[in-house]
């Protein structure tokens, strides 16, 4: 296994404590245009996410957002926090459907500090929830952090 290239990040291993909260990310309201855009970008053209008629037919109450879009929101929070190349693992469980006009807030907490092959790492839990507190995804991540010394 190769270790990723060390890149500048804002967070140092020494500065992070178990229990620390990751700066939360509040996203703009989910719009139909965003889902169309996400479909085109990601290649997931399932009409469930873009065509209101399909949503009505299958009883999801209109179109629903791609779960991967919501994971992307959480990814953005982690990217802002440690930088993308610091991530070693990132996984989520999809817990609920996101509808148009939902406002998603991503949050996270550091759960562990450890070392693997001399690399300083943190792990944490993350989630995304809507304006009513309904959880859309929960997940975990592992990231490598630089040391101060």
């Amino acid at each position: 296994m190769t270790t990723n290239a060390q890149v500048p990040t804002k967070v140092y291993f020494e500065d992070v404590q178990v229990g620390d909260e990751i700066p939360k990310l509040v996203k703009s309201m989910v719009t139909h245009l965003q889902l169309v855009r996400y479909a085109g970008a990601s290649g997931d053209f399932n009409p469930l996410h873009t065509d209101p008629k399909i949503g009505e037919m299958i009883g999801t109450g209109g179109i629903i957002a791609h779960g991967m879009l919501i994971m992307g929101f959480v990814g953005q929070m982690l990217s802002d926090y440690v930088g993308p190349t610091a991530l070693r693992k990132f996984g989520v469980r999809f817990k609920g459907m996101t509808h148009l006009d939902d406002v998603i807030t991503c949050t996270g907490t550091i759960t562990e500090k450890f070392e693997v092959n001399g690399e300083a790492r943190i792990s944490g839990k993350v989630q995304a929830a809507d304006q009513n507190g309904d959880v859309k995804v929960t997940g975990t991540f592992v990231a490598a952090l630089p040391r101060r010394s």
Binding site: T2, F45, N46, G72, Q76, K89
Partner: protein, 185 residues
């Protein structure tokens, strides 16, 4: 085969326009067969490899759609100014490799007339093992690593775990992407 009450004509008509589907619905078609129960003998089966080139513009487009305006995802110059050798992989960029790289699986599905609306995405997990940058050519091999049928009050569902193992043009193992898919019977 999967059955899910939908207006078949509309769905079929729409299928014609959607060239790209993810691989998991195809799994449903291949693995379900004619029985109700998931065929556990398929566990461990791998599918033909696919290749995909990592493209700067697709990362830019994905970050744009998600609404991440961090300049490192949008220009090489900004990425280099931020200390990266090129535009870095957005955390969920592996989804691009499946949808844009593994397109043949979707075609099989459409030919089989499978109703993809029965599939739900349960989990998604990435293990980033080495740097991946634009210009890299990745080869993905998809394996069904687990599968089971669960009977519930509203019928049965298959729960499949698939993993794509990616190597780069140097043969280096760079990424694992694991997905749990729930297919309503």
């Amino acid at each position: 085969m999967l059955s899910f009450a939908l207006d078949n004509d509309i769905i079929q008509a729409r299928y014609c326009f959607y060239g790209t589907w993810s691989c998991y619905e195809t799994f449903a078609a291949i693995l379900k067969g004619s029985t109700d129960m998931f065929d556990t003998s398929k566990i461990g089966q791998s599918f033909p490899p696919f290749t995909i080139e990592v493209e700067r513009c697709k990362i830019h487009e994905l970050a744009l759609a998600i609404g991440d305006d961090n300049p490192i995802y949008h220009s090489r110059e900004a990425a280099q100014a931020g200390g990266y050798s090129d535009v870095p992989l957005f955390p969920t960029a592996p989804t691009l490799f499946t949808f844009w790289g593994n397109t043949k699986m979707g075609r099989h599905l459409i030919d089989m007339g499978v109703n993809v609306m029965g599939a739900l995405h349960g989990e998604e997990d990435y293990e980033y093992l080495a740097p991946i940058y634009p210009g890299d050519i990745l080869t993905g091999v998809l394996t069904l690593v687990d599968g089971k049928t669960r009977k519930g009050q509203t019928g049965s569902m298959d729960i499949l775990t698939i993993e794509v193992r990616y190597t780069n043009q140097h043969g280096q193992h760079v990424l694992n992407a694991r997905e749990v898919v729930i297919i309503r019977g």
